[in-house]
Structure formats: structure tokens, C-alpha cells
């Protein structure tokens, strides 16, 4: 793909800093993204990928093992995807987005449904009353732009067939919400960062196979910026027999995240009831 265009885009995204507002993201990135799409550098990219596959049967396309990534840095990424109707296989949930995203339809016609939260929400704290509202349900043809605000919008391709190029910002949130498709109410907080998911799986594994000496190594994770990692690390430390478990739980009462404060209070309450009985 055009490195001149992606270099310019990368520099622009860098200036946005960490977790920019959606307005700033669109103002800064959209003109450069439009230029990128108009340059159609995905056509020679795809032609080269097909030539590779014609020459070498086991060729792999894409950037960093992701077949549709045309470009990716720590500040953003551009992907190209074929959109096919998911209607028949739709799960009974919808999932939000942890990134700001701009999408451009470059071929075909696709029916897009967009839901939006009427008020600001915090994807890190589940609020079951904060239902989505439908914002649009329309057919989009080549040239249409879709703008998705992290945490606030949910977008789904419902019908049709087409090709979409998308620009994602760096992660805005570490979590996103899953929604019940029928009621549009949030039902779960989902980890949006695969690394965080792997850390939590590894902590569970460590909790099963580790010993008290391993519990001492979890102090750093108990201060992690992601609340679910802090809580998982604390649980594993307690499971592995940290001698200062009581004070760890008391410290968790001061955690910035309400779910951790509540869980710590419950655990201390159970412990106190156990001692009384």
C-alpha cells in the first residue's frame, strides 16, 4: 500500500495522543483516510497477494499474520474485508466497539444497522439500564462512509454483499459491552484486548498450578490499569495463599473501579461471617 499516505496517517494519529475524542479522530484522520481509499492502493496490494499465491501455494497475505490488514502500527490500522450477509447466523447478542472506526464501502451494496447510546456510557462499568437506541437502518453503496464511536455506537452489516475498507484508531477502551439483541440492553462487559484475555487465562492457569511463592509475583498485576486484570490477580494471589490476603482485600476497597470495591467488600463480609461462625 502507499507508504506516503500511511506515513502521513500514522503521524496524524500520533498527534492525537491517547484515547482522543471521536470528533478529533474524525477531523484529523478522515481526510487522510479518504485520500488513502481514493488512491486505491489496495488493488495492487491484492494483485500482488494473488500473484504470490499463484507462484507459491502456501503464500500468506496481510500484515503481521492478519490477512486483511493493509497497514498497522501502534497508532491505528487499516483493514479491507468482504462483507457478506450475516443475518442467518447472527448470534443473539450485539457487540460494541473499543476503537473509533471509519469505514468506507468501496464495492457492492450492504444494509447497515446502527445503534447508539443516547447518553455517554463507560464501557468499563456495566449499566444494564443504558439501552441502545436504533440510529439508522439503511442500504449503503460504494462511496458511503460509516463513522463508529468507540463505546457509543454499535454497527452491524445485515444484508447484501460488498467490500469495506476500515480505519481503526488505537484502542480507546479496554472493554466493550455485549447487548441482548432483542432488548438492546447491555448484558456483559467483554475484554476487547486479546492480550488482556490471554493474561486472564494465564492467571487462571497459574492459580491452578502455582504455589505461594508465585503469589508474590502478582503485585504488579494487582496495580494493572485494567480492572479485570487487577481483580483476577488479586483472586489468584488469595487462592495461592498470600499471607497478607486480608490487607490486599482491604486495599481493594479503595480501588477506582466499583466492581472491585463491591467484590472486595463481599469477600471481606464472607470472611468476617466465617470467623463469627
Amino acid at each position: 500500500v502507499s507508504t506516503l499516505q500511511t506515513d502521513a496517517l500514522d503521524r496524524a494519529l500520533l498527534t492525537l495522543g491517547r484515547a482522543p475524542s471521536f470528533t478529533r479522530f474524525c477531523e484529523t484522520a478522515e481526510p487522510l483516510f479518504d485520500e488513502f481509499v481514493a488512491g486505491r492502493s489496495y488493488v495492487p496490494w491484492l494483485g500482488e497477494a494473488l500473484d504470490d499465491l499463484a507462484r507459491n501455494a502456501s503464500a500468506k497475505a496481510g500484515v503481521g499474520g492478519k490477512p486483511y490488514h493493509l497497514w498497522a502500527t501502534m497508532h491505528g490500522r487499516i483493514a479491507i474485508v468482504t462483507v457478506q450477509s450475516k443475518h442467518a447466523g447472527n448470534p443473539n447478542t450485539l457487540t460494541g466497539h473499543a476503537y473509533h472506526r471509519l469505514m468506507k464501502v468501496i464495492a457492492g451494496d450492504v444494509r447497515v444497522t446502527r445503534w447508539r447510546h443516547p447518553q455517554r456510557v463507560d464501557p468499563g462499568v456495566l449499566d444494564r439500564r443504558a439501552r441502545l437506541e436504533i440510529a439508522a437502518d439503511e442500504w449503503c453503496s460504494a462511496g458511503a462512509t460509516l463513522r463508529v464511536e468507540a463505546g457509543q455506537d454499535v454497527v452491524e452489516f445485515r444484508e447484501g454483499h460488498g467490500v469495506v475498507v476500515g480505519l481503526d484508531s488505537a484502542p480507546i477502551h479496554h472493554t466493550r459491552w455485549a447487548y441482548d439483541r432483542a432488548s438492546l440492553a447491555p448484558i456483559a462487559v467483554v475484554v476487547a484486548d486479546a492480550t488482556i484475555g490471554r493474561i486472564e487465562h494465564a492467571l487462571q492457569m497459574l492459580g491452578e498450578i502455582g504455589s505461594s511463592e508465585d503469589a508474590a509475583a502478582l503485585d504488579g498485576l494487582m496495580k494493572n490499569h485494567v480492572h479485570s486484570v487487577r481483580w483476577s490477580a488479586l483472586r489468584v494471589a488469595l487462592k495461592l495463599g498470600r499471607s497478607d490476603g486480608q490487607s490486599l482485600l482491604e486495599r481493594a476497597l479503595e480501588d477506582p473501579h466499583p466492581h472491585i470495591r463491591n467484590a472486595a467488600a463481599s469477600a471481606l463480609g464472607y470472611a468476617a461471617a466465617g470467623r463469627r461462625s
Binding site: L46, G47, A57, G65, T82, T195, I199, H201, M205, E208
Partner: protein, 270 residues
């Protein structure tokens, strides 16, 4: 596989052994590493130490690991990798908000799967999972497609307990995996020479001895690439697509390319 463990070893020693002795294209060579895998599994401290050291740098934890579930990649070499995998009990299994399991358990559905790579596996911790083992082969010469009948020979149910190893041969062996009775961890040597990436994995309806669907990341991605080219329909794509339609070793990839050429460029390659 019947193997006797040597004395407990550490991870670097295991990798040094693999580097010196493993021939990824020779099944006997893979099987000959079983005592060293068991010796690694006898070291009950290497994995907690590995995890705590790796978790000390959470921002880079398991960078490049594409698995979604509890799979820790411990390292690897040319054509192989070593993984630790967590197997939760049924009541501890994580599920998506849509209530789909994230683990490779398929006992309820009675769907077996094979792999387009070989796995030599042992149990590191816990009681281990149980699995129904099958050998299968296609009927006829062509690559199987969904709905095709296949021959499936049941080879019994095994529990992968500590001290035991199971060898799943690439393509030939299929299995149905059941939840462990309690959280278990397996260690496995995954052997995947480049040529095997061109073959497909399959899912089987065990009751009806039928192919449910093909899979396999390599060919999935190749088919998706071809579908993307078909959707864009640029004339520059016609020539390489025609070559792929004629010559790619995978029938699934050839079919996708042929359909792309026929539908987009109006030219029959039959």
C-alpha cells in the same frame, strides 16, 4: 504412545533437545521425543515460573499468540511449537455472551475434529481430559466436502492423564473432546511442517459419519483472499486467479478461484 520419562528437565533443555533431534517430517522422530516431553511435565515448577516471569511484562505478554482461549505458547522452532493448554471443568468453562464455549469441547454435539498438524500431548496438571479417538478416511478420490460420507473407525476413549502421552497424527486421527473433571493443563508439541498448511482440517458428525465442514486457517485465508478479489473484480486479478484455479493443491482453493474467474470475469476454466 507408551513412553517412560527421563528425570525432570527444564524448558531450555527440552528446546535444546528438540532443536538437536526433532525432524518435523518424520513421525518416528516426533514419537521419539515423548520421553523428553514427559520429563518436562515432571518438572512441576517450570510452568508457574514461566508464567510469573512472562506476566511481569503484561504489555508484551504472549505477543504474537493468535489463540483466543487458554493457550500459552512456550516457544518453538522451524515447523513446531510447544504449548500449554488449560482445560476447565464443565462448570468452570468460560462462555461468550451468546453462550458459546471458548474451549474445544464437543462432546455434547458429538462433533469430532482432526488437525492439519500433528500433536504429541501429555497431561501436566489435573486429572486430564477424556477423548473419543477415531481414524477416518474419505470415500473416493476427491477432497471431501460438507455432507460427504466418510469411513470412521472408533478407537476407544482415552483419558490423557499425567504420565501418559497421546499422539494425534496430522489429518488421519479425529477426536471428540470432553470436559476435564477438574481444571487440567496439557503440554503439547505441535508439529506443522509447511506442506501440511496446504491440507484442510475437518469436522465430522460422528453419528452419521459425515463431513460437517472443512476448516484450516491457511486455506480459509486463501479462500477469503480470493473472495475479496472476486468482490472487487479488477481485471488485473484474472490471470493469477486462473493459475490458482488450475494448479493450487487444495480443491477448496481451486474451487473458490474457479468460481471467481467464472462469475466475475465470465470465463470458464473448466
Amino acid at each position: 504412545v507408551t513412553a517412560v520419562a527421563a528425570d525432570a528437565i527444564d524448558l531450555p533443555e527440552y528446546f535444546a533437545y528438540l532443536k538437536a533431534h526433532l525432524d518435523v517430517e518424520d513421525e518416528r522422530s516426533i514419537l521419539a521425543t515423548a520421553p523428553m516431553l514427559l520429563a518436562l511435565a515432571r518438572n512441576q515448577r517450570f510452568l508457574p515460573r514461566y508464567l510469573t516471569e512472562a506476566l511481569a511484562n503484561p504489555a508484551r505478554f504472549q505477543e504474537g499468540n493468535g489463540y483466543a482461549g487458554p493457550v500459552v505458547i512456550l516457544g518453538g522452532g522451524d515447523g513446531y511449537m510447544v504449548r500449554a493448554i488449560g482445560w476447565p471443568a464443565a462448570d468452570d468453562e468460560r462462555r461468550t455472551p451468546s453462550n458459546l464455549g471458548v474451549h474445544a469441547y464437543d462432546g455434547v454435539a458429538q462433533v469430532a475434529h482432526n488437525h492439519n498438524f500433528s500433536i504429541l500431548s501429555t497431561c501436566y496438571s489435573g486429572p486430564g481430559y477424556e477423548t473419543d479417538l477415531y481414524e477416518w478416511e474419505p470415500i473416493g478420490d476427491r477432497e471431501p466436502e460438507p455432507g460427504d460420507k466418510v469411513v470412521m473407525r472408533y478407537r476407544g476413549r482415552q483419558r490423557l492423564e499425567p504420565g501418559q502421552t497421546i499422539f494425534y497424527r496430522a489429518f488421519k486421527d479425529a477426536h471428540v473432546q470432553y470436559e476435564a473433571a477438574a481444571y487440567s493443563v496439557t503440554l503439547n508439541l505441535l508439529v506443522h511442517p509447511a506442506v501440511e498448511d496446504l491440507g484442510d482440517q475437518y469436522y465430522f458428525d460422528v453419528k452419521n459419519h459425515e463431513i460437517v465442514l472443512p476448516g484450516g486457517l491457511g486455506n480459509d485465508r486463501r479462500v477469503q483472499l480470493i473472495q475479496l478479489a472476486a468482490s472487487l473484480g479488477d481485471p488485473a486479478f484474472a490471470a493469477p486467479l486462473a493459475v490458482i484455479a488450475d494448479a493450487h493443491p487444495s480443491a477448496r482453493v481451486r474451487t473458490a478461484a474457479r468460481q471467481a474467474v467464472d462469475s466475475v470475469f465470465g470465463r470458464s476454466t473448466a
